[in-house]
């Protein structure tokens, strides 16, 4: 670096044993020398690293394959740059060399940047296009439809020149409208910033205000070289157009020139004149159309009445006259009244005929035949009337009775036998239980008349007694003095049942009893 001012230094102070410089002195000398020697220069190179400081100043490098030149553009100078340096861009920068003593560095203050050659410009344009496209600013769905008939058209262009004249001319031809022209520089360093500001400015106007907001914007410029049109390739212009709420037509250059704004505008017109055509319809055609619609309207309304009138006429014609309406019924009445008297006579005749027909069949023979028929029926029935079924029934019932009687007898005898067997068994039981069995064992029963005498006292008083033994009875006449038997009788007198002594007594004279008994049997 020091090589640079090795050369001038000796020329300033040739061959002296110079006194020492202070650092600031030599820095100031270097700065002066640099600025004075080179003056305003142009340097071509590729933009290297770009840094925009918070202060607004722009620092960047211009380089070739071996060297690097530090460049500075102050904040106030940036707006006048026609191209803002971007890394990789081939540029020609214009400015002055200067030095910055604080760091022992020199640099170039650049106040103008130009793109070096068309190829570089196109490459830059392509790069921006890709960038904006990737952000979706070219998307078809972003495009707003143009108003059919805008009330106010805002034109962003140069106020002088052919472009605004062409637009106004074509507008006047088609449909005169209110036009607001926002004057801008259409080329040069200020172009992009002014165009972008104009688009934003139109959007910020209030509808119907003192400065009414347009409902359509045309951004227009005539043809020119790519450098002339370059302002419309700037990103700020493209972004302003994309951000416009008002529909925007771009018409920059000729048909073959395509600038960045054309991709983001809502419509692209090939020329400014074409932009005017896109902006408004043709008034006379519309007037004609309205006239035509008016005529159709009147005709249509008239037709509606006409058609109904026609229909009414047709229907009225089809409606019959009252006379004709009555003709037929009247004729029928006539006919009927003519036929009425005859009808009565014919009616009587017809009934008479029916009577005679009915009377003809009414004869005694008919009745007789009827009676005969009934009689035959009776006879038939009588012949079938006989006693045999009843007799058969009686016989059947008789048999049944006999059967029942037999069954009854059988059952009865069976029952009798059963009863007898029961009686026999019971009788035997009775025999076993009866006193008669005890008679066999020697006991006897003494009776006075039909009463059983169980006490000697009773027997003593009786005139005769009957004594029953097992094989019969004997009659005795007690004398009432039998004292020997007294005690014996007393001991056995407690029970009615025959006692042993009593039984022994009859045993004492069995011979007596045999005779008596024998006579009894």
């Amino acid at each position: 670096m020091s090589d640079l001012f090795d050369d001038p230094a000796p020329s300033d102070r040739p061959g002296q044993n110079a006194p020492e410089f202070t650092v600031s002195e030599i820095s100031g000398e270097v700065k002066r020398t640099l600025e004075g020697t080179f003056g305003r220069i142009r340097v071509k190179g590729e933009v290297g690293r770009v840094f925009k400081a918070r202060s607004g100043h722009l620092y960047y490098d211009i380089k070739d394959d071996r060297s690097v030149l530090a460049c500075t553009t102050w904040k106030g100078q940036i707006s006048s740059l026609s191209v803002v340096p971007e890394e990789g861009l081939e540029v020609v920068v214009t400015g002055r060399l200067t030095a910055f003593g604080g760091q022992s560095k020199y640099n170039m203050n650049v106040d103008e940047v130009a793109v070096a050659g068309q190829g570089a410009l196109m490459a830059l344009l392509e790069k921006r296009k890709k960038q904006l496209e990737s952000e979706g600013l070219f998307a078809p769905e972003r495009k707003k439809p143009l108003p059919y008939l805008p009330q106010i058209i805002g034109v962003v262009t140069s106020p002088s020149g052919a472009v605004i004249r062409d637009i106004l001319h074509r507008l006047r031809d088609r449909f005169p409208r209110k036009v607001l022209v926002w004057p801008v520089a259409v080329q040069g360093a200020n172009c992009a910033a002014e165009v972008a500001r104009a688009i934003d400015g139109f959007n910020q106007l209030t509808p119907g205000g003192a400065l009414p907001r347009p409902d359509l914007i045309i951004v227009a410029r005539g043809g020119g070289s790519i450098e002339d049109l370059w302002g419309f390739n700037e990103e700020i212009v493209a972004r302003a157009a994309a951000g416009s709420q008002i529909p925007l037509i771009s018409a920059v250059g000729h048909e073959t020139d395509t600038t960045l704004i054309d991709f983001v505008s809502d419509r692209r017109a090939p020329t400014p004149t074409a932009a005017a055509e896109l902006a408004v319809p043709v008034r006379l055609e519309l007037l004609g159309w309205v006239e035509q619609q008016g005529a159709r309207l009147t005709r249509g309304a008239g037709q509606a009445v006409q058609i109904r009138r026609q229909r009414l006429n047709d229907l009225s014609r089809a409606l019959p006259k009252p006379d004709t309406l009555l003709e037929t019924p009247r004729q029928r009445l006539d006919q009927v009244s003519y036929r009425l008297p005859d009808a009565l006579i014919r009616g009587v005749d017809r009934r008479r005929l029916k009577l005679s027909e009915a009377a003809a069949s009414l004869r005694p023979a008919t009745l007789r035949q009827l009676v005969q028929g009934r009689r035959d029926g009776l006879k038939n029935l009588s012949s079938r009337l006989s006693l045999r079924p009843i007799e058969r029934e009686v016989a059947r019932q008789g048999d049944r009775l006999t059967q029942l009687a037999q069954r009854m007898n059988a059952l009865q005898s069976q029952r009798l036998q059963q009863a007898r067997r029961g009686l026999d068994a019971t009788g035997r039981q009775l025999e076993i239980l009866s006193y008669k069995a005890t008679l066999d064992r020697g006991y006897a029963v003494v009776r006075h008349g039909s009463d059983v005498v169980t006490r000697a006292a009773g027997a003593r008083g009786a005139d005769h007694l009957r004594i029953e033994f097992a094989d019969g009875e004997i009659a005795v006449h007690p004398d009432g003095s039998d004292a020997g038997a007294k005690t014996v009788q007393q001991s056995t007198a407690q029970t009615s049942a025959p006692s042993k002594p009593a039984a022994r007594k009859p045993k004492a004279d069995p011979g007596q009893d045999d005779g008596g008994q024998g006579t009894l049997f």
């Binding site: 008939l149 409208r177 159709r296």
Partner: protein, 85 residues
Amino acid sequence: MTDTTSPETPVEELSFEQAMRALETVVDQLERGDVALDASIALYERGAALKKRCEDELKRAEEKVAAITLDAKGAPTGTQPLDAG
């Protein structure tokens, strides 16, 4: 521009294009002849109003060209007539 103009919308509130479309619809309806007679009268009246609206809009074809004047900062300050020839 939407086509959602109901027959009740006052004619004055329609844009030119909407009025045009409405007029076209009215004419079509009348020409088809399938509208009841009293409705067709109302329809005709609306059609006539729409036509007038369109005509008025077309007659108001006034040309007025102005250039915006800017202050030093580039902000709009007003207008001045522009004669671009």
